[in-house]
C-alpha cells in the first residue's frame, strides 16, 4: 500500500505540476493601449511610436483599430505560419508597410517598414537622412550589426540600415519574446 502511494505521488507530481509551456513559445500579449472607444488618442507606450496622418502606431499594439483609422491599404498579403497556427499579415500604405503577428486570435503590430521618403520617424529621420542626423536624433546608445544601427526602447526596436553614410532602410520592430 505504501509503495502504491509512492507511485501515485510521483505520477501526480509529474503530471499535475504546471511548469513548462504546453505549446510553442509565443509572443507577448498585445499591448492594450486603447481607450473604451477603441481609439489610440491616449496611446501610452514606452517603446518607439510611428506616426502617420495623425495615427500613432506602437509595436505590439492591436492592429484592428489602426487599420480602421488608416483606411484600406493599397495592397494586402497574408501568410500562414508553416505548421503553426496564426497568420502574418502585411498591409501596404503610401510610404510604409505594416506587418502583423497573431497572438490568441488578436492581430498585433510586429513591424513597420519604410518604403520611401514620404514618411519619417517621430524624431524626423527619413530614408536618405545622414548617419549624423540619426546620431543627433537618437544618440549613441545603439547596437551595431555591420551596417545596421539598432536602438531599443521598451518593447520595440528602431533599426536604421546605413550605406555610404545614408539611411537606406528604416524599420520599427516589436520585441515579442
Amino acid at each position: 500500500m505504501k509503495k502504491i502511494s509512492i507511485i501515485l505521488i510521483i505520477l501526480i507530481m509529474l503530471t499535475a505540476c504546471s511548469g513548462g509551456n504546453n505549446t510553442p513559445s509565443t509572443p507577448n500579449e498585445p499591448v492594450d493601449n486603447l481607450n473604451e472607444n477603441g481609439s489610440d488618442d491616449n496611446l501610452v507606450s514606452d517603446g518607439f511610436v510611428f506616426e502617420t496622418n495623425g495615427v500613432e502606431i506602437a509595436m505590439n499594439q492591436e492592429v484592428a483599430p489602426i487599420i480602421e483609422k488608416l483606411g484600406d491599404s493599397k495592397e494586402y498579403f497574408e501568410a500562414e505560419h508553416c505548421a503553426l497556427p496564426g497568420l502574418e499579415k502585411t498591409y501596404t500604405y503610401n510610404g510604409f508597410e505594416l506587418y502583423t503577428y497573431e497572438k490568441n486570435g488578436v492581430d498585433s503590430v510586429s513591424s513597420i517598414l519604410f518604403l520611401d521618403d514620404s514618411v519619417k520617424t517621430k524624431e524626423g529621420i527619413y530614408l536618405y537622412s545622414s548617419l549624423d542626423d540619426v546620431l543627433e536624433a537618437y544618440g549613441d546608445d545603439y547596437e551595431q550589426k555591420l551596417d545596421l544601427y539598432i536602438y531599443e526602447r521598451g518593447d520595440s526596436q528602431l533599426c536604421f540600415l546605413i550605406e555610404d553614410g545614408e539611411v537606406t532602410s528604416i524599420e520599427y520592430i516589436a520585441i515579442t519574446e
Binding site: 513548462g20 510553442p24 501568410a79
Partner: protein, 358 residues
C-alpha cells in the same frame, strides 16, 4: 524473504517505468489534426521498402511541393521526402545521416532556403523535427545543434518532462492514437487539394548582410562530404515558393557553391513557365506552397531532369515495387478525392482542421 523482496522491488520498478512510459506516450502531441506536420518525421519508419532512388531533405518547400507519387507514376522513380516544418540545415544533415543508416539512395535533394538560418530559431519547430526521430547518435547530435538557450537536452530524451503539463488539455485523439497512428502523408508529401491564388507578394526587405552564415555553410559542406563518401549525388534546389523572398544575392551564392563543388543546383523560381505552374490555381496558400496540382507539375518537371542527368532506372515493371506503389497510389487518390469532397461540402478541408469533429 530476501528473494520475495527483490521480486517485489523489481515489480515495483517495472510498474513505475511502464506507467511513466504510458504517460509519456499519452502526453506527447499526436499531430493527427490541425498541425499534422509534426507527424512527418516518424512516418518514415513505417515505410515498408526503405530503398529509394531519391531522398529529399528540407523544410516545407520540399514536403509540400513535390509529389513522390507523380515521380513513380511518370518515371518509375522511388522517392521519399524527409521534410519537416522549418527544418534547419543541421537537422537536414543529421536526418540525412540517419536515413543513410537505413538506405543508400542514388540522389539526395536538399532545398537551400534553410541556408538563411545560421542558428536555432524556435523550440516548436525543433520539436516537430526531433521528437519524431528514433533515438540514435544522429538524433542526439541534431538535438545538440538545435537547442535554444532555454531548452534542456533531458527534455528531448524524456519528453514527459516537456509535455507533462498537457494533462489539462488531453483530447480523444491522445487516447485514440496512443500506440498507433494512421499514415497521413504520401512518402513524406503533405497533400493539399485546396486553392488560394496569389494576389500580391511583399518584396524582400533590405538586409544588412546577404552572406549565408558560417554554420550553415559548415553543414552544407558536411552534407557534400557525406554524400560523396557514400557515392550519392547531391542536388541543391530552391523550390518555386514565392514567399519567403529568395534574394538574388542568396541565389548567386548557391550558384557559386554548386559550381565549386560540381553539384547540380536548380532554382525552380527561374523555371515557373516551363514547369507550367499557374499561381492562380496551383497553390493553396497564395504562393507559399503548391497544392497537389502544382506539386504534380513540379515533380513531373523535376523527374525528367533527374532521369536524364542521373540515368535513373524506370522500376515500374518491378512486380514487388509495383504492388507497393499501387497501394500508395490508391491511398493518394482516395485522399485527393476525400479532400475535394470536403472542399465542396464545407468550403475547406475539414479533416485537416484542428477540431474536425466539430
Amino acid at each position: 524473504m530476501t528473494k520475495k523482496r527483490i521480486i517485489t522491488f523489481v515489480s515495483f520498478i517495472c510498474v513505475l517505468l511502464a506507467s511513466l512510459f504510458l504517460l509519456q506516450k499519452l502526453f506527447m502531441p499526436k499531430y493527427v489534426h490541425g498541425i499534422v506536420e509534426g507527424s512527418l518525421i516518424e512516418e518514415y519508419y513505417t515505410e515498408e521498402e526503405k530503398n529509394h532512388d531519391i531522398i529529399f531533405i528540407g523544410d516545407c518547400e520540399v514536403y509540400e511541393n513535390f509529389s513522390p507519387i507523380t515521380l513513380w507514376e511518370n518515371y518509375g522513380i522511388t522517392s521519399y521526402i524527409r521534410g519537416s516544418a522549418q527544418q534547419l540545415i543541421w537537422q537536414s544533415y543529421y536526418l540525412l545521416e540517419e536515413t543513410l543508416k537505413y538506405e543508400t539512395p542514388k540522389v539526395a535533394v536538399f532545398n537551400v532556403l534553410a541556408m538563411m538560418y545560421d542558428e536555432p530559431q524556435k523550440e516548436a519547430y525543433n520539436r516537430m523535427t526531433l521528437d519524431g526521430m528514433k533515438m540514435s547518435s544522429s538524433k542526439i547530435n541534431s538535438i545538440k545543434a538545435s537547442m535554444m538557450e532555454d531548452e534542456s537536452i533531458i527534455d528531448y530524451f524524456i519528453p514527459l518532462f516537456r509535455y507533462h503539463s498537457r494533462w489539462s488539455e488531453l483530447e480523444n485523439d491522445d487516447f485514440k492514437y496512443l500506440f498507433k497512428k494512421e499514415n497521413l502523408f504520401h512518402n513524406g508529401y503533405y497533400m493539399r487539394a485546396d486553392v488560394k491564388p496569389v494576389t500580391s507578394i511583399p518584396k524582400g526587405k533590405k538586409l544588412p548582410d546577404y552572406r549565408f552564415g558560417e554554420n550553415a555553410y559548415d553543414y552544407l559542406d558536411r552534407m557534400v562530404e557525406l554524400c560523396k563518401s557514400k557515392g550519392i549525388e547531391l542536388v541543391l534546389i530552391k523550390a518555386p515558393s514565392l514567399y519567403p523572398y529568395w534574394y538574388d544575392e542568396w541565389d548567386e551564392q548557391m550558384v557559386e557553391y554548386a559550381k565549386k563543388h560540381d553539384l547540380l543546383y536548380i532554382n525552380f523560381l527561374n523555371h515557373i513557365d516551363e514547369i507550367g505552374l499557374n499561381f492562380e490555381e496551383d497553390t493553396y496558400d497564395a504562393g507559399l506552397h503548391l497544392n497537389v496540382y502544382g506539386a504534380e507539375k513540379l515533380a513531373d518537371y523535376f523527374g525528367r531532369i533527374l532521369v536524364k542527368k542521373f540515368d535513373l532506372e524506370d522500376k515500374r515493371n518491378d512486380e514487388k515495387l509495383k504492388k507497393i506503389w499501387d497501394s500508395k497510389i490508391e491511398f493518394y487518390n482516395e485522399m485527393k478525392e476525400k479532400q475535394l469532397k470536403e472542399i465542396e461540402e464545407y468550403g475547406y478541408i475539414k479533416s485537416l482542421a484542428p477540431n474536425p469533429g466539430q
